[in-house]
C-alpha cells in the first residue's frame, strides 16, 4: 500500500492546489531566492544556539545535548479550522478532568460499566493514594498537551492525551520569538494569533487553583528533577517567564504539613507547585523510598490541602493508551455530547479478536506500548524490518494487555526548507490546554513537530524529530492579496 497516494499536504492539499491559508506563504516562497532562505536557516540555528535551547537524548552512546532541529517555514492553520479544533480540545480536557474526579471519587463510570474497572484499578498510572481526596476546583490536569494529527482537509484526530507533565511549550514560545526576528515581513502579511501570553495564562491557571487557605497572592514554584532531566531547559525557561522560583526537591522541605522553600531570607511558604517530576519520585515517604528528587512529606501536605500540585498526582491513568480508546465513551458519559475530535481507530490487543487481527496485520499497523511515551517501544509496521516485526509479535503474544495498535495514518505533510529546496515532511500538533478554576483555555496553535527524515512518521524529539512555528491566522485575510 502506497501511503503517498492519499497524502494530504497542509500547503498543497492532495491535488497540488495551494490551500487558502498558505496562499501568501506560497507566493512569498516563490519570490524568495534560495540564498535568502539559506541565510535565514543559518540565522535560526545561531539564534537557537545562543538561546541555549537543548534537549538531552536518552539511550544515545554518550549523554548528548543537542539542538532540536527547527524548520523556518511556519505551519499555518486557518482560524475557522482552529476554532473547531479548540472546541474539541476544551471538550476533551473537560471530560478528562471529570473522569479523574470520578475515578478517584464516586466511581460512577466504573459502576456504569462504561470503562472496565480493572483498566483503572490495575493501571500503573492509577494512584490509590489519591482515592477519596479532592483537589481544588476538581482540576486534576492543569496542563495537558494533546497530540493531534490530520489526514485530510477536515479530519483532525487525537493521537494521545498527555495528562502528566507534557513538555514542549518552551519550544512553541521560542519558535515564535525566533520567527518574529527572522521573518518580520511574513508577520506583516498575516494576522497571526499571538501566543506570547501563554506564561500569563499559565500563571493565572496556577494561581486559580491555590489552596483555599492560601493568601491572595499565592507563592508558586516550578519543581524540576534537575539539570540532567531532558526538559530542564524548559523548566528553567518557564520559571523565568512565570517570574517564580525554579526549585529542586532539596530546596523544599515540609514542616507540620506545610511546604517551605529555602530562600536567602529564610523559609518561605509555597502554595502551588508546578511540578515536572513524575508521581513516583515526588515524595519518598509515600512513593519510591529511594527517590532523591522529591520532597519528604510533600504528599502529606498535599492531602492536608496545604499545597496544590499541578498536575495533580495520578493523572497518568487518564493518558494511558488503553484508556485513550475509551475517551469517546468518557466524553459521552460526562458531557452527554458526541466527541468533537475523533480518536484514531484503535485495536485493544487485550481483546482476543483485536489481537488476532493485529498479529495478522503487523506489517500495516503501528503498535504501541500502553504505558510507553516519547516514541520508545513502538513498531511502525510499514517501515519495520522482518526481525523487528517478529520481535513485536513475540511481545504481543506474551503480554497482549500491554499493547494497542492503530492503522498507519497518512499523517499530513508540511513543507520544510532544506538546502535542496522545499520538501514535504510529516507533522503532528501538540496544543497546550490549560485548566483552572475559571475553565479550560487553549493557546492558539501549539507545537508542530516534524519528522525531519523523508517519509518518517516519528515526530518525537527523542527520535530526531524537529519543530516548526505554528500560526493560527484570521480567515478574513485569506485568499490572494
Amino acid at each position: 500500500m502506497d501511503h503517498r497516494v492519499t497524502q494530504f499536504d497542509e500547503m498543497d492539499g492532495v491535488d497540488g492546489a495551494t490551500r487558502p491559508p498558505y496562499h501568501k506563504l506560497s507566493q512569498w516562497l516563490a519570490g524568495t531566492p534560495p540564498e535568502l532562505l539559506a541565510s535565514r536557516r543559518e540565522q535560526a540555528e545561531l539564534l537557537f544556539r545562543r538561546i541555549g535551547i537543548t534537549f538531552a537524548v536518552y539511550g544515545a552512546q554518550e549523554a548528548t545535548e543537542r539542538l532540536i532541529p527547527f524548520d523556518i517555514l511556519p505551519r499555518i492553520i486557518a482560524r475557522s479550522e482552529w476554532s473547531a479544533l479548540e472546541k474539541g480540545l476544551v471538550q476533551r480536557v473537560t471530560a478528562l478532568n471529570l473522569f479523574l474526579k470520578d475515578i478517584y471519587g464516586a466511581g460512577d463510570i466504573l459502576k456504569a460499566g462504561v470503562v472496565p474497572s480493572e483498566l483503572v484499578y490495575r493501571n500503573p498510572g492509577y494512584c490509590p493514594e489519591m482515592a477519596g481526596r479532592r483537589v481544588p476546583h476538581d482540576v486534576y490536569c492543569h496542563i495537558a498537551g494533546v497530540d493531534i494529527v490530520r489526514t485530510d482537509d477536515h479530519g483532525f484526530y487525537v493521537l494521545e492525551d498527555n495528562a502528566r507533565t507534557p513538555s514542549g511549550v518552551s519550544y512553541m514560545l521560542e519558535n515564535r520569538e525566533v520567527m518574529m526576528r527572522l521573518f518580520p515581513e511574513l508577520f506583516a502579511m498575516h494576522r497571526v494569533a499571538p501566543i506570547e501570553d501563554y506564561p500569563d495564562e499559565l500563571l493565572a491557571t496556577l494561581r486559580s487553583v491555590a489552596p483555599p487557605r492560601a493568601p491572595g497572592d499565592p507563592t508558586i514554584a516550578v519543581l524540576t528533577p534537575g539539570q540532567y532531566n531532558s526538559a530542564y531547559y524548559e523548566h528553567s525557561f518557564l520559571a523565568d517567564k512565570l517570574g517564580v522560583e525554579l526549585v529542586e526537591g532539596r530546596d523544599l522541605f515540609v514542616k507540620d504539613d506545610i511546604v517551605y522553600m529555602r530562600t536567602t531570607e529564610g523559609p518561605r511558604r509555597v502554595d502551588v507547585i508546578y511540578r515536572r517530576i513524575d508521581d513516583d519520585f515526588l515524595d519518598p515517604l509515600t512513593f519510591r523510598p529511594d527517590s532523591a528528587l522529591g520532597v519528604a512529606g510533600l504528599i502529606g501536605a498535599y492531602h492536608a490541602g496545604n499545597v496544590t500540585l499541578a498536575n495533580a498526582v495520578g493523572t497518568g491513568v487518564a493518558d494511558d493508551k488503553a484508556m485513550y480508546t475509551y475517551m469517546p465513551e468518557i466524553i459521552k458519559f460526562y458531557l452527554g455530547q458526541e466527541p468533537l475530535l475523533q480518536n484514531v481507530p484503535t485495536w485493544r490487543c487485550r481483546e482476543p479478536d483485536a489481537l488476532s487481527y493485529v498479529l495478522d496485520h503487523l506489517d500495516e499497523l503501528v503498535v504501541k506500548e500502553v504505558n510507553g511515551s516519547g516514541g520508545y517501544g513502538m513498531l511502525v509496521g510499514p517501515h519495520a524490518s522482518r526481525a523487528q516485526i517478529e520481535e513485536f509479535r513475540a511481545k504481543l503474544k506474551a503480554h497482549p494487555d500491554n499493547f494497542i495498535a492503530q492503522p498507519t495514518l497518512a499523517l499530513s505533510t508540511c513543507p520544510i526548507s532544506l538546502a535542496k529546496g522545499v520538501a514535504p515532511r510529516h507533522v503532528d500538533l501538540r496544543p497546550f490546554v490549560l485548566s483552572g478554576a475559571k475553565g479550560v483555555r487553549v493557546v492558539p496553535g501549539g507545537l508542530t513537530r516534524v519528522a525531519m527524515t523523508e517519509k518518517s512518521l516519528v515526530v518525537n524529539s527523542s527520535q530526531g524529530g524537529g519543530t516548526k512555528d505554528t500560526w493560527v491566522i484570521d480567515d478574513a485575510i485569506l485568499g490572494p492579496a
Binding site: S117, E118, Y121, R122, Y126, P128, E129, M130, A131, G132, R133, F253, V254, K255, D256, D257, P284, L285, T286, P289, D290, A296, G297, G300, H303, A304
Partner: protein
Amino acid sequence: MRIRIRHETTYRYLEPAKSAIQHLRLTPRNYDGQHVSDWRIDVDRDCRLLQSEDAFGNIVHRFTADGPFDSLSTVVEGEITTFDTAGVASGTLERFPPELYLRQTALTAPNAAIADFARASTAGESGMLAALHALLAALHERMAFDTDATHSATTAAEAFAHGRGVCQDFAHLYIACARAIGAPARYVSGYYLRTDGDEQVAGHAWAEAYVEDLGWVGFDPANGVSPGERHIRLAIALDYLSAAPIRGARAGGAGETMEVKVRVAPTQQTQSQSQ
C-alpha cells in the same frame, strides 16, 4: 484474649540529625477480630503529631522534629482484646473494592517462577478458598525463615530465588501468588503473640486474600496458619511499602542505625511490669 503490646523503635545517628520527618502506621483499628481498649503513641522529641487516614483506611500519624538530636525514639503501647474469627477479617473498614488488590506492585510482581509455583501448588483445588489454603501450605513448605537473607526492599521474586526470608517476604510471595491466580490479596502489618517468649525484634506481617461470599481471609505463610487470637492487625495495603509501620526521612544524621523492641504478651502476665 487480652494482649498488651509495647513497640519501641529507636533511630540513632553517628552525626546529629538536623531534622526528621516520619509517617507512622502504628495505630490499630477495631474489627470483628480485635477491640482496641487503650493505645498511645509517644515520640521523644518536641513535635506535633498530626493524625489522618490513608487511602486504605489506616490511621497515620505524621510529625516533623527539629534537631539537632542523636537519637529519635517512637513508642506505641496499648492493650487489645482479640477474638477468634476463624481467619476471616470481617467488620474491617474497606475503602476500595476488592479488585483493587489484584494490583501488583514492584515488591509483589510475580516472575515466571512465582507464577508457575502459584499454578502448580493450587492445581486441582476446587474453589478459591481451597486453593488459597493449598498455597499457604506450599509456600510455608517451600520457603525457609531466615532473618539474614533479605532486607526491607527485597522483592517477592528475589526472596523466592533465595528460598528464604522473613515474614515480610513470605507475605509478599503469598500476595504475588494469590494475585497471579486471580485472588485479590493484600499485605497486613501487625503483631503476633508468640508461644516462645514475649520479647521480639520486629513486628509481624501476613496476607489477606479475598474470597467471594466469604470476604477477606487471613493467611500467615511465615507460620503456616490462618491468623487467629494471637494476631493483631495494624495496617493493610498493597505491600510492605504502603503499609510500613514507619516511613521517614531526615536531614543530617549520617550513620543511622535502627533498633526495634517489641513486647507482645498476654495481659495477665505483664500487668505488674507495665504499671
